[in-house]
């Protein structure tokens, strides 16, 4: 499951590397941004503002809005790994990705309920660590090949297809189908909203639908 995600992340990184360099960043700035920030949505939201020469607080605030969903994820990660040391938890939190968390939650469904937290944390670190390598490797390739590869939207869309394929097996329950429908509808309505607020509102809509539909479910049925 992680393999296709890492492959897709590589192509997404490739497109990001091309976009950063063609947007006017130096190779060092592009690589530094990708390795340290490690957030595709924050970078995509910030890049046009950096290129336009916007005020720094505006750039940071836009990235904050684009990344609000990670506040929700941090609840999950903090709950899941509450027994780990603070530095380990901060590492796990910083490495958290949409696809890594999804892959982990899917793997948890098949894992024994008694599995030690240390092993679960190692699996989480491994999934997100591989995605980090795919992301930075893809970006490095994009930065290096920026002069050779035409700026094709098809290359970037292979990364999107990897996420589509990741979603496919998750749509196995009634709750997950309704969550997907709600989030998809709101993401289309809010596609032009500033600072990726459409994405955040889509997540809120999905969680609200899940909240309504899971109220009377047992915990074991609730995870997508």
């Amino acid at each position: 499951m992680v393999g296709s995600t890492v492959l897709g992340t590589f192509f997404w990184g490739l497109a990001m590397g091309l976009a950063l360099v063609k947007g006017g960043l130096s190779a060092m700035q592009a690589l530094g941004m990708v390795m340290l920030v490690f957030s595709g949505t924050a970078q995509l939201a910030a890049l046009p503002l950096i290129v336009q020469g916007a005020a720094l607080p505006a750039i940071w605030f836009t990235a904050l809005l684009a990344n609000l969903r990670f506040v929700i994820y941090s609840v999950l990660v903090a709950t899941e790994f509450r027994g780990r040391s603070m530095s380990y938890k901060l590492l796990l939190g910083w490495l958290t990705t949409d696809t890594g968390l999804t892959t982990y939650l899917a793997a948890q469904k098949g894992a024994a309920a008694t599995e030690p937290e240390a092993r679960r944390a190692a699996r989480y670190l491994g999934a997100n660590g591989l995605i980090y390598l795919g992301w930075t490797g893809g970006t490095a390739a994009g930065v290096l090949l920026a002069g050779l590869i035409p700026d094709s939207p098809r290359i970037g869309f292979i990364g999107v297809l990897a996420v589509v394929a990741l979603v496919g097996p998750m749509l196995a329950t009634r709750v997950s189908l309704w969550v997907a429908l709600a989030a998809g509808a709101v993401s289309l309505i809010g596609v032009d909203w500033p600072a990726r607020m459409g994405m955040f509102c889509a997540i809120v809509a999905g969680v609200l639908v899940a909240l309504v539909l899971t109220r009377k479910q047992k915990p074991s049925e609730a995870v997508s």
Partner: protein
């Protein structure tokens, strides 16, 4: 006005801080603040909602265009390849066959209809 090299680096460092704080805010928040029960279970669907929000606008862009037609959506290739990727991954219950099938559709459309 274009940002200087130093300003771009300051912007990047600020982004690192923003991302680090948002991803870790509940690591340092008191345990009593963390949601429990039904709400915590509902939150477990948030990554699925986020992935859907990441893929739907791009996949459906040609369909949402003012002058959309069956031909323009097929020529664009993103929606057909996304549907194939989703269905194959769903039937196979594994993402990798879906990625391969969707990518094949995207590339074949680009090759025969550039």
């Amino acid at each position: 006005m274009k940002l200087s090299d130093e300003q771009i680096w300051i912007a990047i460092i600020g982004l690192v801080v923003v991302v680090f704080v948002t991803r870790n805010i509940f690591m340092v928040a008191p345990l009593s603040w963390q949601p429990r029960g039904v709400f915590e279970r509902a939150l477990r669907h948030s990554p699925l909602a986020a992935l859907i929000a990441l893929i739907v606008p791009g996949s459906a862009a040609a369909l949402m265009a003012m002058d959309a037609s069956v031909g323009s959506v097929l020529h664009d290739g993103r929606l057909p390849s996304a549907i194939v990727a989703l269905l194959v991954a769903r039937v196979a219950r594994s993402p990798f066959p879906g990625l391969i099938a969707g990518t094949a559709v995207l590339l074949v459309i680009g090759f025969i209809w550039p």
